[in-house]
Amino acid sequence: MFSRIVLTALAAGVLAGVCVFVAHMLTTTPLIQQAEVYELSPASASHTHNNGNAESKDHSHQNTAVEESMAELFQRHGLTLVADLLMSIGFGFALIGAIILSGREIDWRQGLVWGLCGFAAFYVSPTFGLPPEMPGMVAADVTERQIWWVLTAAAAIAGLALIFFVGKGISLILAAILIVLPHIIGAPGVELQSGDLPAELAARFAVVSLVVTGLFWLLLGGLTGFFYDRFGRA
């Protein structure tokens, strides 16, 4: 049993992790690198409240890409691969643990549904309050945001568990409350300031990150279902 779990989480996690790394390299990482130019700019670094100030519109430092040597780039992307693999394998272990605890039958189709629930809990709900961040964006204290993020994801998981495993009467109302409550309380926010990061870049990053993460969860869920089913027959 133990080896079946470990093999499932590793096979699904590594495959989905490598795929999401390739997707990140092609989509999100180039956008992050573009945004880093603005992270170093004086306007976003000083965080002064100069709303509407003409000075902040003086883009003299625009589009000077942050220079990184080949060795630095190799290290940076190598570490992104490691981080993507760790997250993917971690989510894979958590997912297969939850699937077994639920006692439900699983194949790749059921796995897709589990993957979508993971996407809803770990991306859609937290991101609804805390949009995907880019370097150079102004945001509230990181610890406060992390706490809100974790609690929101946990509430969404509890809500989804009530919907799928109880699924009637008051539990549905309770589920809705759990999922919505973090958003009524509200994510830690900041006063909006004028910055240099172009809106087009941030909007593009938000959509690309949403689609890539959604596909990642579908893949991870489908593969987890497939491998667990497959390794059970062997």
Partner: protein
């Protein structure tokens, strides 16, 4: 007929026993998975943060 029923009950019992036996590894897998995700997604040590920087942004974990 009786033997069949007995066999079926035994198989059901075995299945139930297997399910119970699977609970502990499942809990361990869940805890280990959460540990990995927290390490890669939330640890605030500057080395870990820098290493996982691009992945954190892409997965929309709070960063910086």
């Amino acid at each position: 007929m009786k033997t069949k029923t007995a066999t079926r009950t035994l198989t059901q019992q075995q299945a139930a026993a297997e399910k119970t036996a699977a609970k502990l590894p499942a809990v361990l897998a869940l805890i280990f998975g959460v540990f990995l995700v927290f390490g890669a997604g939330f640890a605030q040590s500057s080395t870990l943060h820098n290493a996982a920087h691009d992945a954190r942004h892409a997965f929309s974990f709070p960063c910086h």
